[in-house]
Amino acid sequence: MAKRAHSAATATQQHSVTPRSKWKILFSVLIVVHLLAIVAEPFAFFTRGANSVSPAALPIRANLAPYVEFAYLNHGYFFFAPNPGPSHLLECQLTTSSCDQSRLRLPDRRAQWPRLLYHRHFMLAEFLHQLHVPPITAQVEATTPDKDLLAAWKIERSRFEMVRDSMIKHLKTRYGAQSAEISRLEHRLPNDIEVFRDKIQLSDERLYAVLPDAPLDTLPTSPQPIAPQPMAPLQITPQLNQPAPEQIPNRSVEIPKSNVSENPSANEQSPP
């Protein structure tokens, strides 16, 4: 075995064509820049706080932004992190010109096949949820002292509405509907007591809750998700080891003053 390895190494030596020093230096510089680009986004994402990103992460990420974004290196790699959270789905209500109504849920493993297609639709549902920021009333707008926060809030909200409206347009075109409405659903994860003792099925409708899109009375310090409204109240057991709605990790709720990556495809958290 060792002899084989030695002969392979000898063969490697014989055929080796090492580049000259100047090429090695050039390659080394390119390698270092690329390695920085690989680390820039996850490091910035990992060091993100309530209002900003670590000053240690900002310069690298900002200077390498064109390369990081174009080469599709803008990932946080937060797979099932910080905690495995609930899934988010879209409930679509379609109305035809003859007033017939039908419902469509995304993702739907029976309607979307093969699995890769299902997963694409699943990601779209999660994407719309991640973009969600509640609307604000004119009164809130007038009374909020932090105008920067207000401006950031409006931009985030308009981005959500733009994507939601595009999805509605697609539904109308695809299914020939006259109107369409989209609601966001949250599928809560049951604990072991609910599954084993109370025999709750994972697809039980009681685990699904509609997420509201109601205006806020006051503007919090940063956009926050709103607690879901259960479609059918579940009075079985208290939740053990389940994150409270405000801890649900599927959305980065802060709008840092100095936003590192505005790329909506970047920084995905839970879905791998």
């Binding site: 055929h15 680390v39 937060f78 797979f79 899934s87 694409r120 994407f127 733009m162 994972l202």
Partner: protein, 323 residues
């Protein structure tokens, strides 16, 4: 007996430069990369096939996210503007399908190793253009296949297990597009391999660190909540939850393995353990959490830690015994 020389700063710098030189610029055989090329190319063919069949659902003016919206999401003035794609401006279903058919053609050529030095960069480019258009519908699979194809296009990995190698053996190699000798180690093979290895280490390190922000990965319940996620689930493994010990142990192994992969995978003694755990974790994701494509791609990427000499021996045709 001569006294030992003190280890000076100069020695340290010389060792550092020498170590860097050996790590990046030692020529390497192409065999392992060729296997990754075949797997990654086949995965890209599948990805683009799905995009091609459902092109108008995901691209054009009637897509889930239409052209105007995608351009606005990547508006000028934001970092996202750099993630540019020509597909932002194409609405014709015919052109969109043609685009994906071209992508399938290049990815197939990459898989088969036909004109690999051209096909692989084109496969990467067309995939990148598609990814920049598909904002919102992407996940880990896309990240991994773009990463692999980006590094594979650096390397002459079409010099073995390829149509190029067959053509070369018959003397039909294109003079302006040399494929490289099958048994000739190349520095570019090494650079591509090292890049895949280091990129994997970054993925796992931040994957592990990010989990440390969550309490479920420490109290041992994270694996349970991953298993009962109905939208991901493809195989019902909730019965494991009857043993909290097993669930908590699997959770602990996952977070420790993921965080320390970047250290465990380099020493020869611990490498098999790190790679075996990678295989089981990603096979689990593929079979239980319904992400066969993502799990397979990650296993493919981990092959970069297999020495090409090992791959070559493993896949060598048995020589015919003289009669």
């Amino acid at each position: 007996m001569k006294p030992a020389q003190p280890y000076t700063l100069r020695d340290w710098i010389q060792d550092l430069v020498g170590g860097w030189d050996r790590f990046w610029f030692t020529p390497r055989l192409p065999h392992t990369l060729a296997i990754i090329r075949i797997g990654c190319g086949a995965m890209l063919v599948y990805v683009h096939l799905i995009w091609a069949i459902f092109a108008t659902d995901f691209m054009g003016d009637s897509a889930w996210i239409d052209n105007a919206t995608i351009r606005e999401l990547h508006n000028a003035g934001s970092n996202a503007q750099w993630a540019w794609s020509w597909l932002w401006y194409i609405d014709s279903p015919l052109l969109l399908r043609l685009h994906e058919l071209l992508a399938i053609f290049f990815c197939t050529a990459m898989t088969l190793g036909f004109l690999t030095r051209i096909a692989t960069p084109l496969a990467w480019w067309f995939t990148l253009m598609t990814c920049h258009r598909m904002t919102g519908a992407l996940f880990g699979l896309d990240q991994v296949v773009v990463m692999l194809s980006m590094y594979l296009m650096i390397a002459p990995c079409g010099s073995v297990f390829s149509i190029d190698a067959v053509l070369r053996a018959r003397g039909w190699e294109l003079k302006w597009l040399p494929t490289g000798e099958p048994d000739s180690p190349s520095v570019l093979n090494n650079v591509a391999t090292r890049m895949i290895q280091l990129h994997l280490c970054v993925i796992y390190l931040f994957g592990g660190l990010s989990k440390m922000r969550g309490e479920m990965w420490f109290d041992g319940t994270a694996m349970w909540f991953a298993l009962v996620n109905y939208e991901y689930q493809s195989l019902d493994m909730t019965w494991i939850g009857r043993s909290p010990f097993v669930i908590a142990t699997l959770t602990a192994i996952t977070i420790f393995w993921e965080t320390f992969y970047c250290a465990l995978v380099w020493p020869r003694f611990t490498r098999p353990i790190a790679l075996a755990l990678a295989f089981f974790v990603h096979a689990g994701i593929a079979l239980v959490l319904g992400m066969v494509t993502f799990g397979t791609s990650m296993i493919l990427a981990n092959l970069a830690f297999f020495e090409p000499e090992f791959t070559k021996r493993l896949l060598a045709r048995p020589s015919r015994q003289p009669e």
